[in-house]
């Protein structure tokens, strides 16, 4: 579709930008204007709502918890998917076909519906009310897509490159680290950021597996603010900004890699 004229691009894009940005802007207005103000431009800017949620409502701790869970599942997902993805791409083994089909099927398992059995498992492992239960659940749910993405990406890297490294005396591991890993950067960024964003945002597991307020994650804290009795829109908006900031920052950095990583890995399979 080359050669669309200027207004054919800018008019629909402008409208869509409006739809995307007005809600974000609205949240910022509520977060930064003083309580009781109805101004559409938040001026003078106040940080009272941030003080309320960060210090008064415990978002400082929620933020820490979310960060811990996000980073731990990013690391776990990436390492496990890297090993598994390499095996799927480069080795033939019994049950590989069944494994691939199984992975596809897991996409149909509703996370919401796994709560009961997962709860029982975590109770057996004494992991209920622990952030590790979230890390495990998130990692497992991220694995299938991550494996597909990474193995698709590795398959696109010519085997000869690796073989050349072995001829030069590299071990399989060194060959992998020196040749494959650098080429995998877009896929790793995509997989890692998916894992981080997902677990940062996950609500249901955190709601179900965690009881202590000191172990709440940001979405659960935010949901409590949404309770029926809450009329403090300033605090709600400030909590929203706290919840949005890390993922939006991560997203801004990785957005370009994401399109690249997906086009090479997932869609082409």
């Amino acid at each position: 579709m080359r050669g669309a004229s200027r207004w054919q691009i800018y008019v629909p894009l402008g409208l869509y930008l409006l739809f995307t940005l007005v809600p974000f802007y609205w949240m910022l207005v509520f977060a930064f204007r003083p309580a009781g103000s109805t101004a559409i431009v938040p001026w003078p800017i106040t940080f009272e709502h941030f003080d309320t949620v960060w210090n008064g409502m415990g978002f400082a701790i929620f933020f820490q918890n979310s960060l811990l869970v996000g980073i731990a599942s990013l690391v776990a997902t990436t390492i496990v998917a890297l090993a598994g993805g390499y095996a799927l791409a480069r080795y033939q083994f019994r049950g590989k076909g069944a494994f691939m089909v199984g992975m596809l099927c897991t996409q149909f398992i509703p996370g919401a519906l796994m709560i009961i059995p997962l709860f029982e498992i975590f109770r057996t492992l004494s992991l209920t009310n622990s952030l590790w239960s979230l890390v495990i659940a998130e990692t497992v749910f991220q694995l299938p897509l991550s494996l597909i993405l990474i193995s698709g990406f590795i398959r696109n890297i010519p085997y000869e490159l690796e073989q050349a490294a072995w001829v030069d005396g590299c071990s399989r591991l060194r060959g992998f680290l020196a040749v494959i890993l650098p080429l995998l950067r877009p896929a790793l960024v995509a997989v890692g950021s998916f894992a981080f964003i997902h677990s940062w945002n996950n609500f249901l597991f955190a709601l179900m597996f965690i009881n202590d307020q000191e172990k709440f994650t940001v979405p659960v804290g935010l949901a409590y603010n949404l309770g029926e009795n809450s009329v403090d829109f300033g605090a709600l908006a400030a909590g929203g900004v706290v919840a949005a900031l890390p993922v939006v920052i991560v997203f801004a950095f990785i957005q370009r890699y994401l399109v690249q990583g997906l086009s090479a890995g997932a869609v082409k399979g």
Partner: protein, 282 residues
């Protein structure tokens, strides 16, 4: 060896729990009534099929929700992908901006739209001040508007998913094809229908399938935005399961609902892939 961690993780935390779901679904298993617990056979399934109007209502709503969301998200996402695939000034920035809601969670989406929809402080108040609307509109409290209010909120974060996936695939279309077609005098519409769409085929099938499953399983947005109300009007099947488990503590019944949801999704997915001839070269 390399695959072992993936295998253990998935067997232990996906396959085993799924099997135990099926096991529980054949039991009477209610934490608050332990004296009744034991093997139930197909009793739970009989109950949900023949005695539970809310099951059918929530299933119906799930289907309506999935169809409306996926169709609208796909159409808007495709249009958006085509636009940001063009070269124009400010493209990189617009991409980052229009894709950004994708990174945002259901709960956060709810928080934002609760602020927008509030009758006293929300957008409608300012629109009413300008004479564009009546005062006091509360889209989330009104049974006539709650569905569309939820749809719009979910569109806001769902369209970028399609746009990103489709853009990724659009970028791999060879430019020579378009130039050759243009030389042959094919109109833009014809080039779109004969080059772009066939090329996007598999990506379209895969993204609509994945999104359908995810929207079917959508819990966080609806749970926090409407709580499934008013009067179960916006209760999806997974939401109903969560209610049964968390409020009624009837795990046997909840897992029976779970099993039915899983079967529906699996059959739908297989049928969809078969019928759409996914992976077949066009």
């Amino acid at each position: 060896m390399l695959i072992a961690p993936s295998l253990i993780a998935m067997l232990g935390f996906l396959v085993y729990p799924m099997a135990s779901v099926i096991y529980y679904s054949l039991q009477h298993y209610n934490v608050t009534k332990p004296w009744d617990n034991g093997f139930a056979g197909l009793e739970n399934f009989r109950r949900l099929l023949f005695e539970d109007p809310i099951f059918w209502q929530s299933l119906g709503f799930s289907v309506k929700w999935v169809v409306v969301e996926v169709v609208l998200q796909f159409l808007l996402g495709l249009a958006l992908a085509l636009i940001v695939n063009e070269s124009f000034i400010g493209r990189a920035l617009s991409r980052a901006l229009v894709f950004s809601p994708w990174a945002v969670s259901g709960v956060l989406t709810t928080a934002i739209w609760v602020l927008l929809y509030n009758p006293f402080t929300g957008m409608s108040r300012y629109l009413a001040d300008m004479g564009l609307m009546e005062y006091g509109a509360a889209p989330l409290a009104n049974p006539d508007t709650v569905f569309w209010a939820a749809v719009v909120a979910e569109l806001w974060r769902g369209v970028p998913f399609f746009a990103i996936l489709l853009l990724a695939d659009l970028q791999s279309v060879s430019k020579d094809l378009y130039e050759a077609a243009a030389v042959d005098g094919a109109s833009r519409m014809r080039r779109f229908v004969h080059i772009t769409l066939p090329h996007l085929r598999d990506a379209i099938i895969l993204s609509t399938l994945l999104r359908s499953v995810w929207e079917f399983n959508n819990v966080d947005l609806l749970y926090t935005l409407t709580g499934g109300g008013p009067a179960h009007q916006t209760t999806t099947l997974p939401l109903y399961v969560a209610q049964q488990a968390a409020q009624s503590h009837d795990f046997g019944y909840a897992t029976a609902l779970t099993t039915v949801a899983f079967l529906i999704l699996t059959f739908f997915s297989i049928a969809y892939l078969r019928l759409s001839k996914f992976g077949a070269k066009s």
